[in-house]
């Protein structure tokens, strides 16, 4: 009798659901991993998102499955982040260094420092929403419109948030190890 506590109310068949959503597993995992910063949490979040998506599958009217899944996933992730990091205070951000970072004389510095390693640590330092949009656009290749649907913001906001995220990322790269390179 306890067996009936879950499922069993006209749920869709798993194969049908899987055909639509499992192809997005890598994209989902990549986003969760970048947001949550460790494998275990990322796997839990992705599994939870798939289960929620499955339960809500009857409300999915076709269209962009990837954006739909990401909407659910990012909700799961941001809820987890709130729980996991409630005690953390964000690192202070030096606006001055960061505004100067786009200037042409710093392009050479950027070139010298831009490699996979500094990039990874720079992305990890970004605020969650900046990191999210960089991952969705620059790594996963979602179009502005898909991101707008997934996050639930206007396309104009996608554009400006992505621009700010990239600007800050550049600044983080230029500022990385700044103590060693400055006189």
């Amino acid at each position: 009798m306890i067996e009936q506590h879950h499922d069993g109310r006209g749920d869709p068949s798993p194969p049908e659901f899987e055909q639509v959503f499992l192809p997005h597993l890598d994209a989902a995992y990549n986003l969760a991993r970048w947001l949550l910063r460790n494998d275990q949490d990322a796997e839990d979040a992705v599994q939870e998102a798939y289960l929620r998506a499955y339960k809500a599958f009857s409300r999915f009217r076709g269209g962009d499955g990837k954006a739909w899944l990401i909407t659910i996933l990012r909700n799961v992730c941001f809820t987890m982040i709130k729980k996991l990091r409630s005690h953390e205070t964000p690192e202070p951000f030096d606006e001055e260094i960061h505004q100067a970072a786009g200037q042409s004389d710093l392009r050479e510095v950027f070139r010298q420092k831009a490699n996979a390693e500094t990039l990874q640590s720079a992305i990890e330092k970004l605020p969650d929403e900046f990191r999210e949009i960089i991952v969705l656009h620059d790594l996963e290749g979602l179009a502005y419109k898909q991101i707008a649907v997934a996050i639930g913001i206007p396309i104009g906001t996608v554009m400006s948030r992505l621009a700010r995220a990239r600007g800050r990322l550049r600044a983080e790269i230029v500022a990385s190890n700044v103590k060693q390179s400055s006189p």
């Binding site: 506590h5 879950h6 659901f17 796997e43 042409s104 502005y144 554009m159 990239r166």
Partner: protein, 252 residues
């Protein structure tokens, strides 16, 4: 189009997200403006670096299996994922056979044990392992207050490698019971605790569908531990819980 417009639209331009008219306006400005052109080149360089150098994390094949298993209700699912993983390892499989042969001599498995195993399996499958996630016994214990008419003793086994990871309200023996969740590597242990109203639980190890279950009674409380852990580690866990609950005074 002025400098500000250009700098606002530059990213969208590089991403191919601008409509044709805006695109042409912007290019017209770029053609006559050195500083904006420099900016564009710097941005282009940045975007290229981000897109080519950032590592992309890939899901393990195990995750796909885990999700597919979670999507299927118990009946249509021949084996839960962790047991399938076990079975793929010959040594583990042999160990399982030996264990099974040994324990299946036990005639019948009490309904209570079957129910506890079902609770354990369900807690893993529907992603409802915990209602309160915490590694702190002083958080988990108060969480049950008001939800139960008794206060379970919550002991910490983190130093021994069995960290407490949370608590859950579950149903067992026709009543609400406290379930404490402990972790051993990637395995979970459910420890159900509720007041005893009848004879003591016999302290006997059962194996059902590859899960170990053991119930005992101490100081007026019933305990039932269930896990897919191996026998030795499971026995160690039970022993530690029993030792710890003896040390402290029960049911305050």
């Amino acid at each position: 189009m002025n400098h500000d417009d250009v700098s606002r639209l530059l990213g969208a331009y590089l991403d191919g997200e601008l409509d044709l008219t805006t695109c042409m306006d912007l290019e017209e400005h770029l053609a006559g403006c050195e500083s904006c052109r420099q900016k564009m080149e710097a941005d282009q360089e940045l975007v290229a670096v981000i897109q080519s150098e950032t590592p992309r994390f890939e899901a393990s094949p195990f995750l796909k299996t885990r999700i597919r298993a979670a999507l299927r209700p118990e009946k249509s699912q021949p084996l839960p994922f962790w047991r399938r993983a076990w079975l793929s390892s010959g040594v583990a499989f042999a160990a399982l056979l030996i264990l099974a042969a040994y324990f299946y001599r036990a005639p019948g498995i009490p309904a209570l044990v079957q129910e506890a195993v079902a609770d354990h399996v369900r807690s893993l499958q529907v992603s409802h392992l915990m209602d309160v996630a915490s590694t702190d016994q002083h958080t988990v214990k108060p969480w049950f207050a008001g939800k139960l008419d008794y206060s379970p003793q919550v002991v910490d086994l983190a130093p021994a490698g069995y960290p407490l990871i949370g608590g859950r309200l579950d149903v067992l023996d026709s009543r609400n019971v406290a379930a404490l969740i402990y972790q051993r590597r990637k395995h979970y242990i459910n420890l159900f605790i509720w007041p005893s109203n009848g004879p003591s639980l016999p302290g006997k190890l059962y194996v059902r569908n590859g899960y170990h279950a053991l119930g005992w009674t101490r100081s007026g409380m019933n305990y039932m531990a269930v896990s897919e852990l191996g026998e030795q580690e499971f026995a160690d866990f039970v022993k530690m819980i029993q030792d710890k609950t003896v040390e402290t005074r029960p049911g305050e």
